[in-house]
Subunit: 150 residues, 2 copies
């Protein structure tokens, strides 16, 4: 993991369809070392996935909500069950165990307030271990990046 590897990862985090040729000229190398370094970085697990990022607004999924949750029962089996139930909800895109006043933080995306309401009433309410929910509705997304600064 030298400086060249880092620069390759930086480029891939911005545009993973950039050709080896283009990267080679940016980094003053030929295509082969670029190619081999990328393969090595993939095998070593530094690169987890290559994905397309979509415009959620254009797709009608413009409601984003952060849910702060506390649970009643912290025992292992109840906790595991709770986590599995939350993870299985496909509206939830991110889910974290956190420190602070709440136990868990979830990010979810909906196409309307009604859909969000239905999610609360039907999906979350059916999970028994939840003791408290506080929702933070996103009014504006000011920055969103998947980049890891290396």
């Amino acid at each position: 993991m030298d400086n060249i590897d880092k620069r390759i990862l930086e480029i891939l985090q911005t545009d993973c369809l950039k050709t080896a040729k283009e990267m080679a000229s940016e980094l003053s190398l030929t295509t082969t070392p670029i190619y081999e370094r990328i393969k090595k970085l993939e095998k070593a697990g530094y690169i987890k996935q290559y994905v397309a990022l979509l415009d959620a607004d254009l797709l009608g999924k413009s409601i984003v909500v952060f849910l702060n949750l506390t649970v009643k029962d912290h025992h292992v089996s109840k906790r595991t069950e709770f986590i599995q139930q939350m993870e299985s909800l496909e509206s939830i895109t991110e889910f974290y165990h956190i420190s602070g006043s709440y136990d868990f933080l979830a990010k979810a995306r909906f196409s309307s307030i009604k859909e969000y309401r239905d999610f609360l009433v039907n999906d979350v309410a059916s999970i028994s271990n939840v003791s408290d929910i506080e929702s933070q509705i996103v009014l504006e997304e000011l920055k969103y990046s998947t980049k890891v600064i290396i």
Copy 2:
């Protein structure tokens, strides 16, 4: 935006390096329509970016923190200045204006608690308009997906 387009977007959100040939066989088409549909989806803005997702832990960036912030002055100029200052901090990967007890929510990533402390003391403390901060440190990432359900 018909069903085929949706399936293409679903595939690209999971693996954007999948070849047109593979997608064509999955969707019972030939490569050309796949290729043209993808170009059309790109031009229409549905696809914002193609990126590599990295393993932050492997790269030594394993501390993730959510920061809940309130600001003192909500007037336009002060607010704009605050937003610009926050966005410019490269530790902050996500930044939202939210409803609820706090005004803003930020996600940040650090390589150590010390780096997080320095961020609080040096970077955030130098932003004058901040009245209150509550940090939620991520103890475990249970789910992370960039997918938009279509």
